[in-house]
Symmetry: C2
Subunit: 341 residues, 2 copies
Amino acid sequence: MSALAAVYEGDGVVSTAPRTPPVPGPGQVRLDIAYTGICGTDLHVVHGSMDARVNPPAVIGHETAGRIVAVGAGVSWAVGQPATVMPTDRCGTCPACTAGHDHVCHRMNFLGVDAEGAMQSSWIVPAELLVPLPDDLPLDAAALVEPTAVAVHDVTRAEVAAGEYVVVVGGGPVGLLIAMVARTRGARVLVVEVDGGRRAVAESLALDVIDPTAEDVVSRVEAATAGAGAAVAFEVSGADAGINTAVDVLAVRGRLGLVAIHPQPKPVNLHRFFWRELTLVGARLYRREDMAEAVALIADGSVPVRPLISQVIPLARAPQAFEALAAGGAMKVLVDCRGEG
Amino acid sequence: MSALAAVYEGDGVVSTAPRTPPVPGPGQVRLDIAYTGICGTDLHVVHGSMDARVNPPAVIGHETAGRIVAVGAGVSWAVGQPATVMPTDRCGTCPACTAGHDHVCHRMNFLGVDAEGAMQSSWIVPAELLVPLPDDLPLDAAALVEPTAVAVHDVTRAEVAAGEYVVVVGGGPVGLLIAMVARTRGARVLVVEVDGGRRAVAESLALDVIDPTAEDVVSRVEAATAGAGAAVAFEVSGADAGINTAVDVLAVRGRLGLVAIHPQPKPVNLHRFFWRELTLVGARLYRREDMAEAVALIADGSVPVRPLISQVIPLARAPQAFEALAAGGAMKVLVDCRGEG
């Protein structure tokens, strides 16, 4: 089997290059990667927006699933075990870590950004970052454990409870995962999405979905909640209008889960936060328990993730995978890293 | 004794007019008012910004203390009892009320704005809105129970806990009351205030205070917290820069208590909310338990409010009281409604 890696060369260029499979050191394992997904952050990296953290040439990617094929000294994991990886390698000593919030470590060494990532045939990772997968979980679905863990973390941070009405603004992969995770908690969920293709995917997952350019979202939410408004809204769109929608739909004491990345300051209707005593909750990444819940929800079928996979492209053609996602219209694009073997 | 009222005539004009002391109806009491304070909302009313809710000529004012002098049918309060008033008369049937959040009722009838207020010799109010005062609490101090209840509510909403580092951005009356209430909960408190006069008042209350135009607030907070940042920040300034300061000082998982009224949407660094998993908590008005705690904190001296009283002006000269506050430099201006008697 020929070992290969997708390499971000800088300036928007991704290439592929042969790799000699490395040997795990003490405390490390070698994973042979089955699938690695591409997310918005990976696109930002390739477009050069994160060159302050990424040193090209660099192997990126952090949404992955594979199988342990070799272990270093002091590692008790079994060869053959399917696993995914928490890419959140933390320092353990900063104020965030010592306060128990090591998933948002001040000096995070995020695998796939700050360190070598998963878009290659074989990946060496610290054994302590492994998350075990059930033997019978298909590894293409398992490559979506990481974004599902994001969704679990978001829903947990916003304290979504059974019976609550939840609005998800933005129906991309993370938005639909949030919607499905909220549904597993017993919430009634409405997805707001402008793109017809994404609305069709949402409908195929039996999610209630609305086109905000064709129908008034606030009226729909008020009608569904006897005039009260939604208990929780998630802003997953990244758009200014999405922030406004998420604020406008909320009931008194409603919670706004802030998921999308807004690099620039955005105008926010703070008066509404005051008037209705709203709460805005920032949520970033996930904790180990979120990863474990994501694995369980995918494995038992309560969060079906395969409908989110738009395309699977072989590692040898990895540059096309980035192009496919950048072109728009796709949900999740996976890179098949299994090679010819 | 001549009964008098201060009357907002519209277009920035306040006058005084004689009043025949009214008789309380069923469920009502007549309070003879000792002192009524003026707050920012009252100034907004007089400047015409709230004419959609206020119908001039109107008696305004809602920060008050007095004594019951007559009771209507079905009222069990004793004549002679000193009392203040919760001006938050709610409908009881809207979604906010039925969800248990009647202090932010959708159809609030706020006394002193939507209905007749306290800046007069005698005020008729529903007995159910009375809050009893201890006999030995001076009524000038008691007129600050209402803004102190705001501060109690804010500190409670932000869940300030013992040992936490709290930054209060804006050292006006409510800011300093928040600082003092947070101190009663065992917090370490820093007040951020640009005005030297207000900083001097803060210092007279033994509060730690910083001039943000002369010293870097973030550096001060980091030095005081081993680099972590503040657990809680309150935005009480109403300024765009105040929002930024409150965001910038917060530690991972910090809470921003939003107290100031920002009528227009303001730019907010949402990326920081995401990155540090911050929470923004809107807080408005108060609940009955906040009023009760405010009375207790003022009565036992743990929140000394008299240093906040800049001036006391007789009711007959009420227009000057509004001018004094509008001119800037004052903290709390009280109107003495006791007449000549």
